[in-house]
Symmetry: C2
Subunit: 763 residues, 2 copies
């Protein structure tokens, strides 16, 4: 069995690997956990020698196109989709010991350890193995995917004879078009494409391929250092071979440098140059620079908490993977699974702007501007899509790699127009927090203007002059094609008013005062449905009038409901897949009174089944704000343990990067009470009794702020520029280098309201 | 060019065929018009010698299964669909004249005529043709698909040398797995299946095939009479050859008898027996019995009108094709295209019960019981589907051949639950009109009970105890997944109350008084949304609050809107594809006051684009009822001329059988004012000034009624049993053999209300 050791503050360690843990599905899970990436290239945590659950060498946006077939097509249904494809895999290193292949499924494993080091940014492995014929060896490998040198990954591989001399042979491969395992029968899985890369040339230094339909050229270069190797190439494979006899105490150390270039003019030259530079640096230097990069990251991003080592590990693991997904992603997008797997076909969805970018905005803002510039670079496709949909401005895709809409089920795809407002909100948040006016002028403003035009077209006034947005789908995918989804309307309002304010301030060619006036007018009278009889906001018009779900008749294995009930049944009932109105209360908390938040939270808790990993973080934040602190902690823990300890099959296709970000959100926005409504920073810290101390850092323009909360007080420590923010609604200014401590009123911990699927108790 | 001659009362005659009329698309259209069928087998009106637009030999329900692929599948999406396939084609007769092949595209066509004789039930053809080498011949052929002998079709083929002796060779084929032309790129077209039949055996008498996946065996037998023929067989073909020299004035007459058997235990024996019997009868006897059958049909079904020969022809053409679709359909369904083409994949939809069966109920009731027994025979599949959908009772498919749901776009398929109430309404109507209690006990009651159970499960009460049906799609396909569609709710109410009354009267095992009480309770408080501000009923809750469609910005070639706008845009606006609330006012006219009907009709006229051929008949009926008599006539004429004179490409896949029925509906329900609410027959005749006289017949239990309306009076003539009905709300009883004449009040002809797409003026 696979066994993650006790939670460590800065590492994820596997201390055994045998039996069921070597099954394909178990391997897929640990490969995701142990994936290394830098936003540009990603290597799943496969064992060097196999077996593997899913090979997984991902180059951001390297994809193939596929035709979509519909039983009954409709106007505007996308005709093509995009699927991430595997780049040539440089991970395989096959070791033969006295003519017996090193494989954990044979011989005797004396010791096995894999360790993801969150500060070093490496995956380290250490195995002692005895072959069937009794040859004992120790194998160590260290993998790094370089943050500062994004085209490069490297592996150090060490073999040592333990008891007696052994003959060894090492075959170190770079291999393209590997056989892919079959995919799970799940709508969230990826399509399988066989042999997606067409070979253009091969040499012992570099392979050059081109994807067949999308026409992306990719060069994959490799070099080895250490003992003399014999290197040869054949189509789709470069192989380096070392054969020797090792005496005990004389370890052999082989270093392998990989470099990739794709989607550029001269990929072979660029890949070879990157490889050569990596070789010149050497492996140790790569490690040193990796640690340097991460030291800086953790200095301004780390979250500390007392009393729960697993959640402590979870939040750092989550932040590490968020960084791995986004650090060097620009000019490409940040996909829902980052570069840890091919789930969702490698597509980017609204998760990125709604969950991932907010965390990066406050912890690693440099990559946020680039991620949003990618959205700007795809404005042409979004404008074209808006024209096709007979709308105005830009209609961003629900899911995509290149910028083209790839959603094959429009009621839960194209109809989710809120993605446009989500992107606009990410622009406004990033600009407010970073002050990056250059980005705003060059890219952000145009995104805001074009999305505002979309909303202005979609919005219409009724006989009383109240404005409505009809027939769209909100975040909750158990309702669809609804009128006046509160989340959508409030986010659209934010988009329209934000665009108006930016357009007015900057003066943008082609945007008239009349147009700005129309945006404001549309925004100000947007309807927010409320059900007076039940005293709550309606997720959409009429929601609270729908039939209730029969939770008593719903069995545990009926979840996720979407796999066991038709949309026909789900859509017409008060059953919520994921935070929708609750997410609106998080992102547009300024639009609700505290009493409304409390009543709404209780109402929707009773109807939310959390069949999406995006749900728990928002529920944690609103649980905390409404005084359900232990419940908030339970939701926090669920998010923190999702991929690491409970994800199982669902994490095998790749990690839930938005949920990784959600751990930070649950802690910092939930218990820290961070909000940024209207571009103003505010805090309202409140800890549950089970959490004695929470400390987190963030950046705001030229300031860095560390917030440390205990049951009795909060300390705000600022470095850099002076910083003004709100503490429980009152302005506080802290000078750079200063620290302010403010006592906290005790908070009453409310009991969790009824829920059909409460999180596991932990708080 | 193809040219239909002037409208004749009892025939459809084509008087020329050359140039563009020989294009594939033009041929497809005339092949549909000239199709012969008897509900059991159908032959499209292909030229004997070719070319052909679509071959088309259909055996009711002979189909193949295909897998459905979805870009993003969901629970309960059908995994397979069914597609009608061509049976072996016995129509081809190729003639060679002095070594030159007879073909209208070569040589000189001196004369060409094709004539569909609506009283004889034959397709007759008469051509004079001169070959390139100057050989002049006359070719005549007569085709019949026998109503009284449903397994049999026959062709008489005559060739005559006109000027000088000619050598002729005739090849008469029965051919399987012909090459199919590619389909149009239109969601309403059929899928193309190549070589759908696997050969089991062949002989000069009979071919035996089996469909590959659906496993239906089909035997196709042929025999020739007349001159000696040499008959041989090879895989997929039987060929009879005649070679001779004809002297002028000595015509050669070849007769070809075809017989089919499929889906039965010993198809070869049955097909051969039928063929042999047909040969014993001989061609003349087939013709005589065909006319006898049709004489009886027309005697009790004919509609006469004065002053408009084209509409007169249209209503008889429509009735003839309705008969051809339904006469011998049992135990199979009546498909949307009948047996005239493969459009909609040969599926049966709600059209049958809503438009076709009402006409047959009053004109040819014998086949209605059989058609509904087919629904009863598929109750097992409908129950299984209800279980799969987590519903109760039975959920009939939106489209099917075998009874399994084949709809690949669930928002406009599975979600249209009203099909269940439409079937129940057809049961109730047929039982009321025919008094067929045996059918009710054996089949109808169970359909009513199981559909009532479905509605009882779907319906739910709100906080005030008002019942709702949410998240369904009504007849209008430009809205979907709506709450409280009036049509659906009123039809469900009719279903629930009808089932309750039948269950109570008959006493049905397993149906308790409590259950019956629950049906009545659900029915009585079903919500019917009304918009007081606009003074109209809402097609569904909130409809009148939706954004209006911008008709000023919509160009002529933007129609049909579904091919040029996304559902995203259509669903959220007040634009109606086809009569929905207006159809509710026709079928459930008892639920509206006259004033409500008038206001509703005007409101929905302004928003209905009639992108469905199902729309005009219902609009005609309500236009007539609300006093818009000339508009009603315009809609009548549109329906009457649709397939015959304006259908074009849309009719090439087969005729719109429901629209064929709609001509009768527009006349008899519109101007005759026939209604059958609550199982009571009533009339309210009213003619527009352009229609001086209308006369129609119908059956009601043991009575036959002829109604003759002029501007000033109406005459009710009854034969058989005495008959009681309502005339403008007052009971009238006419004894068998008697005639009653009642003067009519003059009716004010209102001007047509505004419409974005008014029908062509004719009234």
């Amino acid at each position: 069995m696979s066994e993650l050791g006790p939670a460590e503050p800065w590492a994820v360690r596997e201390t055994a690997l045998s039996g069921d843990a070597l099954s394909t599905s178990a391997l897929r899970h640990t490969e995701s956990i142990f994936a290394l990436a830098n936003g540009h290239i990603g290597l799943r945590g496969n064992l060097d020698e196999g077996p593997c659950g899913m090979p997984g060498t991902f180059l951001n946006s390297l994809h193939e196109r596929r035709d979509l077939e519909y039983p009954e097509a409709g106007y505007g249904f996308p005709e093509r989709t995009e699927t991430v494809v595997d780049a040539p895999n440089g991970k395989p290193i096959v070791l033969t010991v006295d003519d017996e292949r090193f494989d954990l499924r044979t011989g005797t494993v004396r010791r096995h350890e894999r360790c993801l080091d969150l500060r070093a940014g490496t995956l380290h492995r250490d195995v002692e193995w005895v072959s069937e014929s009794g040859a004992a060896i120790r194998v160590r490998s260290t993998r790094v995917v370089s943050f500062p040198f994004p085209a490069v990954a490297a592996i150090r591989y060490e073999v040592e004879a333990l008891d007696r001399p052994v003959r060894i042979r090492i075959e170190s491969d770079l291999i393209a078009n590997e056989e892919q395992p079959d995919q799970r029968d799940d709508p969230r899985a990826s399509a399988t494409l066989h042999s997606p890369l067409r070979l253009l040339s091969h040499s012992p230094d570099v392979l050059l391929h081109r994807t067949r339909r999308s026409g992306i050229e990719v060069a994959s270069a490799v070099a080895h250092a250490g003992p003399p190797v014999f290197t040869s190439s054949e189509p789709d494979r470069i192989r380096a071979v070392v054969s020797t006899t090792l005496a005990p105490g004389e370890p052999l150390r082989l270093e392998k440098f990989l470099a990739y270039a794709w989607g550029v003019q001269t990929p072979v030259d660029i890949a070879l140059a990157a490889r050569d530079e990596a070789v010149r640096w050497g492996f140790d230097e790569l490690l040193a620079r990796q640690r340097e990069y991460l030291d800086e990251f953790w200095e301004t991003a780390d979250v500390e908490l007392d009393g729960d080592p697993e959640v402590q590990q979870g939040v750092r693991f989550g932040l590490f993977h968020v960084l791995q997904a986004g650090a060097q992603a620009g000019p490409h997008p940040i996909a829902a699974k980052g570069l840890t797997g091919n789930g969702y076909d490698g597509h980017v969805l609204w998760d990125t702007e709604t969950f991932v970018l907010p965390v990066l905005t406050y912890t690693h803002p440099a990559c946020v501007g680039l991620a949003l510039r990618w959205r700007h670079a795809t404005l042409g496709a979004a404008r074209e899509r808006a024209r096709e949909l007979r709308l105005a401005g830009a209609a961003y895709p629900w899911r995509t790699i290149s910028g083209a809409e790839c959603s094959g089920y429009w009621p839960a795809g194209t109809a989710a127009l809120h993605v446009n407002a989500d992107i606009a909100a990410a622009v406004l948040r990033y600009v407010a927090a970073s002050g990056d006016e250059e980005f705003l002028r060059e890219a952000g403003a145009e995104i805001l203007v074009e999305t505002a035009r979309l909303w202005c077209r979609v919005t219409h006034a009724d006989d009383e002059g109240v404005h409505h947005i009809d027939g769209v789908t909100g975040p909750d995918e158990y309702t669809a094609l609804v009128d006046d989804n509160v989340f959508t309307n409030l986010m659209a309002q934010h988009n329209l008013l934000g665009a108006a304010s930016v357009a007015e301030r900057l003066g943008i060619a082609g945007v008239t005062a009349e147009e700005i006036g129309a945006w404001r007018a549309a925004a100000r009278r947007l309807f927010v449905p409320y059900a007076p009889r039940r005293g709550v906001h309606e997720q959409h018009s009429g929601f609270t009038r729908l039939q209730e779900w029969d939770f008593d008749a719903t069995k545990d294995d009926d979840y996720p409901l979407m796999l066991n009930f038709p949309y026909l049944d789900l859509y017409r009932r008060q059953v919520v897949k994921q935070a929708d109105l609750v997410l609106a209360m998080m992102l547009r908390g300024d639009a609700f009174t505290p009493e409304e938040k409390r009543r709404n939270f209780v109402y929707y808790e009773a109807r939310t089944v959390r069949d999406s990993s995006l749900s728990a973080p928002a529920q944690a934040v609103l649980a905390a704000e409404t005084g359900h602190l232990r419940l908030a902690y339970d939701y926090l823990a669920e998010a923190a343990l999702l991929d690491l300890r409970s994800g199982g099959e669902a994490s095998g296709d790749g990690l839930h990067i938005a949920a990784c970000a959600g751990v930070w959100i649950a802690l910092v926005q939930g218990f820290g009470g961070l909000r940024d409504h209207g571009g103003r920073l505010s805090f309202a810290p409140r800890l549950p009794s089970c959490l004695p101390r929470l400390s987190f850092c963030l950046r705001w323009r030229d300031s860095r702020l560390r917030v440390t909360v205990t049951g009795g007080e909060v300390t705000y420590a600022v470095t850099g520029a002076d910083l003004t923010f709100e503490h429980y609604g009152s302005p506080v200014t802290v000078a750079g280098g200063d620290t302010v401590t403010i006592p906290l009123d005790p908070v009453e911990e409310l009991r969790a309201p009824p829920s059909p699927r409460p999180p596991e108790r932990r708080g």
